[in-house]
């Protein structure tokens, strides 16, 4: 739909009047049913150029005077027409036409407007009511488009939040998978070693059993006994069980330790990624920190030493998986802010109204202009493709939904400290978050 055709649609091809037509004839013309919808009639010159508009009200005013029709009925309509009517070119857009008409329109509305072509020749009339209807339709259509855009925007926002969740989950899973490789490495090797090392022990057991059989067998002759003794002695030398004791003890304890590590990681993963977003009444924030650290350990261990100063905390109602997401985000950010090797200090404490938690790193820190924007969605200082810029803004939302506060303080060159306060039960208007 082009804008030019928008006005064409409003065009009513009313036959124009000649300038010398009498007022009485015009009045008769206005009474015909097909012109009932018009407030006025156009007057054009011989070339078809519009000269003016004559309105019903003008004629009514004349005829309402005593002998008005008799006195002026024969006069040319030209004498009483409005010589400065509203003239709109057909190629004007609907919006511009509306602007032009409302700008010039006088109250009360007594006239229509003349539509002309590009050459300025009369083409027809347009009524103000039709124009209003067209504008209303256009606005309704615009609203529809806007509403659709809003829905799409909300959808893509949800998708972004989801993809940030997936990104941090993916990062975490990859990290934990890698973390599993170390204990798996030695556990696997140890089990293979145990199998190899135990093989001669079974041979020794077999040789000694054979020797035992010999000794118990009265028919066993000297030669067979000597042979069995020799085999057993040889097997014993080969197996060297006394030397194996230490190795076996070590291998078994390392293997069990490794399996415990693996189990801890798997439990951590399960605790951490609990897909139920449910609020839980009795959560110890210190436990959340420990489980987030199990998960974040691989990203941190070569960047920083983690120091925990965890105070006694009352249990609070919160959604642990969401709080874990916040903690993991803060810990990963802290590790990434450290260039060489530094420290991450995690503290918890409680006061009368809230449970508090701080994560402090000895990293690069941020200048005030960066600090001011860190909770803004899509703000990131990481290279393209390495951060969605949503981590902290989602963290902010999660803490806010818990009725808490998150704040950051930073000094370039010295590090950054995040502080989270989560309200204790008595003062807690709980919100569930998406």
């Amino acid at each position: 739909m082009t804008t030019a055709s928008a006005l064409t649609r409003l065009l009513k091809p009313v036959s124009p009047l000649a300038a010398d037509m009498s007022i009485a004839d015009v009045a008769d013309r206005l009474l015909t049913p097909e012109l009932k919808a018009f407030l006025s009639l156009p007057i054009v010159d011989s070339a078809g150029r519009p000269l003016g508009l004559v309105s019903r009200t003008t004629l009514q005013d004349i005829f309402m005077q005593r002998f008005g029709r008799d006195l002026r009925g024969r006069h040319a309509v030209q004498e009483v027409m409005n010589a400065a009517p509203l003239v709109v070119s057909l190629d004007t857009s609907l919006e511009d036409a509306a602007k032009q008409i409302t700008g010039q329109l006088q109250y009360p509305i007594t006239e229509d407007f003349i539509l002309v072509d590009a050459q300025g020749l009369y083409r027809g009339l347009g009524t103000v009511l039709d124009l209003l209807k067209a504008m209303e339709a256009r606005i309704a259509q615009r609203n529809l488009v806007l509403r659709k855009a809003l829905v799409e925007l909300k959808e893509s926002q949800t998708q972004l939040v989801q993809s940030e969740k997936m990104a941090s989950l993916g990062q975490m899973v990859a990290g934990v998978a890698h973390e599993l490789n170390t204990p798996l490495g030695y556990v696997k090797n140890n089990v293979q070693l145990l199998r190899e090392l135990s093989a001669p022990l079974f041979e020794l057991a077999e040789a000694q059993a054979a020797l035992g059989d010999c000794l118990n067998d009265p028919t066993c002759d000297e030669a067979r006994l000597t042979m069995a003794l020799e085999v057993a002695a040889e097997a014993r030398t080969k197996a060297a069980p006394e030397l194996l004791v230490e190795d076996f003890t070590q291998l078994f304890s390392d293997t069990l330790y490794g399996l415990a590590q693996i189990a801890e990681l798997v439990v951590g993963l399960k605790d951490f990624a609990r897909l139920d977003r449910a609020m839980s009444e009795e959560v110890d924030l210190n436990e959340c920190i420990r489980s987030a650290l199990v998960i974040a350990r691989n990203g941190i261990k070569d960047k920083a030493e983690t120091i925990l100063q965890l105070g006694e905390l009352p249990r609070i109602p919160c959604a642990p998986s969401q709080i874990n997401q916040v903690l993991l985000n803060l810990l990963n950010n802290a590790a990434q802010a450290i260039d060489v090797f530094g420290q991450i200090l995690v503290k918890t404490w409680a006061d009368d109204s809230a449970v508090c938690l701080s994560v402090q790193d000895s990293g690069r820190g941020m200048p005030p202009e960066v600090l001011a924007r860190i909770f803004d969605p899509f703000f990131t200082t990481k290279p393209v493709g390495q951060g969605t810029g949503l981590g902290l803004s989602i963290s902010y939302k999660i803490i806010q939904d818990h009725g808490g506060q998150i704040r950051a303080a930073s000094e370039p060159g010295r590090g950054t400290r995040f502080l989270i306060r989560l309200p204790r039960p008595q003062a807690l208007p709980l919100q569930r978050s998406a």
Partner: protein, 303 residues
Amino acid sequence: MSEQIRILFVDDEERILRSLALQFRREYEVLTESNPRRALERLKSENVQIIVSDQRMPQMSGAELLAQAREIAPYTLRILLTGYSDLDAAVEALNSGGIFRYLTKPWDQQEMAFTLRQAAQIAARQLQAPKVSAVIPQAALNVLLLDEDASTLDVVAEFCVAGGHRLLRAASLSDAVILLNSQPIDLLVSDLQVAGEDTAPLLKSLAQAHPRLLSLVVTPFCDTQALLKLINEAQIFRYLPKPIRRGLFDKGLLAAAEQAQLWRAQPAQVVTRLAQQPREERDREKVGSLLGMLGRLRERLIA
């Protein structure tokens, strides 16, 4: 012969060290260190032929450790053993650490034993080889470029002019094979994709057929698994990501030229390039057929 071989394992997890020590103490003299700094100290005073290091350690990364180890003891064979697939670490370990193998945790016992046996063989050959003079003759080299990229050509051409080397160019794998059969090539600079063909099999074949030829890979692809194979099976000398970073590329070319000139001046047993057979059947077939095509070259080397 392997009795004299000393292997130093470095890992911040003591249990890994104990496990490896127990596995290899019968075949080699095994040293272990959980602190990379102490490991470097030991290298200064003790003769070690093979270093196997973890990548992620609190004090220093494995790639960094191996790069420093190379400075202290250039003749060591360096192996990275890591549970993390980290492209940057692999690239650094190759480019700065000049690693012999990139192994992953959990490791396969047989494969680890085999890799260490290969490394030990090279180390033993080196121990027996006469020490060479420190003066490296500045010989002119033949450089084969297998990459259509103009920016790669610029750098390589300039390097050849500056060093008095001869630049040869091939537009496809088959062109390259013809040139490799007719000319004694010292350095190969290649993309991983040339004229729609994968060049990795050629690189792998060359590592077997021509261990003195050094390959530098320039590529826009970043795939840790592919790089791992190029290290282990093609023994590439450098892996340079595209777009080309000029300084890095120049340094790589210079180092390759120096190494090639050094190897030219030395007996064959000193060459520390020994590639692993490709693990995948399809790769093995491709490499096998390319090795056939490179047959003439091989015969000349054996002769």
